[in-house]
């Protein structure tokens, strides 16, 4: 830089940096407060501390030892794994078909997916379909009802279309069936896109709660950790938790922390991918 910044620009830069720091603090304080307090035996005396006054893992021990808490956690894990696997399979296969430019009826298959982005029948008609299929009070509607998101479908389709057609020709000449091409060529070449969409589905299924309340009304033992968390922290009545006289502040904080952990673990790995994935999809879509 040959020129020097003017005084007003320097002032702007300092204020801008301070403003960004303020934003960071605003976003982080609520989360830090919860995580720190979950290790604090004296968390009920709430004054902000960066380190717990009396460090303890009691709250986490309770979570692992009580089936009433541990079971929803397992359900969350299992449903997240199955749900994202199913959704990724269905979505990427459909996107693979759509990415074939000369597929007869391509416009139709694209169109019926796009319509669902702007118009849906709504909660009650979908609820009644699930009921008619006999899926009410089972775990199946949780992952069947959201098995394909039109927006992610378009992103993946764009990703697949970005693969040079010469590679497909080569695979065809080598005698690959379309499915073999998909598994051996398309999937390995689309890792950033798959990672991004995969993360979105994983987070979606991990964060699900309303569908459990809607579709599983009479079998609360099928509810996941988010539903448990909601009844622990938000609903004031503590029915069903008589098992422990321990619904203390730190247990609530620990439950929230447990629910955040998977997201925090996955987040740094996939962050670079999802920004790239979204941008590529966004620019072309």
């Amino acid at each position: 830089m040959l020129h020097r910044d003017s005084a007003s620009y320097t002032t702007f830069k300092v204020l801008n940096t301070l403003f960004m720091c303020l934003i960071i603090v605003t976003v982080m304080i609520p989360l830090l407060k919860i995580i720190i307090d979950s290790f604090d035996g004296k968390a009920s005396e709430t004054v902000f501390r960066f380190f717990p006054e009396s460090f303890t893992l009691d709250a986490y021990k309770v979570i692992i030892s009580r089936p009433v808490i541990f079971r929803p956690l397992i359900i969350s894990v299992v449903v997240t794994i199955i749900g994202s696997a199913v959704a990724m399979t269905i979505t990427s296969l459909y996107a693979y078909g759509l990415s074939k430019k000369d597929l007869p009826g391509r416009k139709f298959f694209m169109g019926i997916a796009l319509v669902t982005m702007v118009f849906r029948a709504g909660m009650i008609p979908l609820f009644l379909v699930v009921n008619q299929l006999g899926l009410l009070n089972t775990i199946f509607p949780i992952f069947l009802v959201h098995a394909m998101d039109a927006y992610y479908l378009i992103l993946l389709k764009n990703f697949f279309e970005g693969i040079p057609s010469s590679i497909f020709d080569a695979a065809e000449i080598d005698g690959c069936t379309p499915f073999q091409t998909f598994v051996r060529v398309v999937l390995p070449l689309s890792k950033p896109g798959l990672a991004a969409i995969g993360l979105f589905y994983i987070v979606f299924f991990w964060n699900q709660f309303f569908d459990y309340i809607l579709y599983i009304q009479t079998k609360p033992h099928l509810h996941n950790f988010q539903v448990f968390l909601r009844s622990l922290v938000i609903e004031t009545d503590t029915q069903g938790f008589e098992g422990f006289s321990f619904a203390t502040q730190s247990l609530k904080n620990a439950a929230i922390t447990v629910s955040i952990i998977p997201v925090l673990i996955l987040y740094p790995f996939v962050q670079k991918h999802f920004v790239k994935g979204i941008n590529l999809g966004g620019v072309k879509g």
Binding site: M20, I34, V47, I112, F119, G122, M123, I260, G282
Partner: protein, 305 residues
């Protein structure tokens, strides 16, 4: 003529044959769309029937809609939906665009990365977690916020249980979760602006403010329009956020069409009425999106959808 038709037919058949494997692979997705997206649309007819736990009754025309629009609770939910959605869109769009522009001015790449990493994060937390976090922080007894308020001599407030505070609190929490994520697409658009434009503007003596007004902002307009239309599509989608943050104390300012649909339709088993109310919401959202798209088409000669 006849020959070419037969030929076309043969072509189509052999084409379909060549692609049969692809159709097979697409089948699960296709079935999903039919069963869980299009069959429910047939259920929209329930909006015109008398339908409750006893089953499907008589055709009653627009009765449910008349009932809805004369019901105080529905009118209230309708108003709240409009108020919360429009405030939310205006606040979020303003903040997202401003923060993107400011963030774009940060030249230290490491610091910029740190800010981005932090502000994207809340978007990935479930509404239950966000609701739980703020319920604890805003709690009247011992919540961090009221702790600070009382330390400075203020009076402890019931942020989520007070009709005069609920909307502000709700919009703040909504912004806390979504604004950072909203900047992703704008930062992408900003990084795509040709640096030569800025060089040329500097030559012409434009200062940084003028560069922003004449180069940066105009380049953001297409993105702003896309995001606006996408947000309009979601405009009435205030369900989970409201569901975890409202309570009977504040129904008057917080009940929205979707929470109202859930309470009447599912918990009171008024399926026909619930369908009618939900349909009203879907139709309005659809009209808003298509209308905006049409306006954009008129103004700019190209549509987004």
């Amino acid at each position: 003529m006849g020959q070419s038709l037969a030929n076309n037919k043969g072509n189509l058949l052999s084409k379909l044959n060549r692609f049969k494997m692809f159709y097979l692979l697409m089948l699960p997705g296709f079935l999903f769309l039919i069963v869980f997206r299009y069959v429910p649309m047939l259920g929209l007819r329930y909006a015109f029937y008398d339908f409750d736990l006893r089953g499907l009754g008589d055709f009653i025309g627009f009765s449910h809609f008349r009932d809805a629009f004369t019901s105080d609770n529905f009118i209230r939910a309708f108003k709240n939906t409009l108020i919360l959605s429009s405030l939310n869109i205006v606040i979020q769009m303003t903040l997202i665009v401003s923060i993107s522009l400011l963030l774009n001015e940060i030249k230290n790449q490491f610091f910029k990365k740190v800010v981005q990493t932090v502000i994207y994060l809340p978007h990935f937390l479930s509404w239950v977690v966000v609701g739980a976090v703020f319920n604890l922080l805003l709690s009247r007894q011992g919540g961090l916020v009221n702790e600070v308020v009382t330390t400075f001599g203020g009076e402890a407030k019931h942020f989520l249980g007070d009709q005069s505070l609920w909307r502000q609190t709700f919009l703040f929490i909504l912004s806390w979760r979504e604004i950072g994520w909203g900047t992703v697409i704008f930062l992408a658009a900003l990084s795509g602006i040709d640096p030569q434009l800025y060089e040329a503007a500097k030559m012409d003596g434009a200062n940084r403010w003028k560069q922003m007004v004449h180069i940066t902002f105009p380049h953001l307009i297409p993105t702003i329009i896309i995001v606006l239309i996408m947000n309009l599509a979601k405009i009435f989608n205030l369900f989970e956020s409201v569901f975890v943050l409202y309570n009977p104390l504040v129904y008057k300012v917080s009940d929205v069409i979707q929470t109202y649909t859930y309470r009447t339709g599912v918990t009171e088993f008024r399926f026909g009425y619930g369908t009618a109310v939900g349909l009203t919401r879907s139709v309005i959202a659809f009209v808003l999106v298509m209308g905006t798209n049409q306006i954009v088409k008129r103004l700019r000669g190209e549509s987004v959808l």
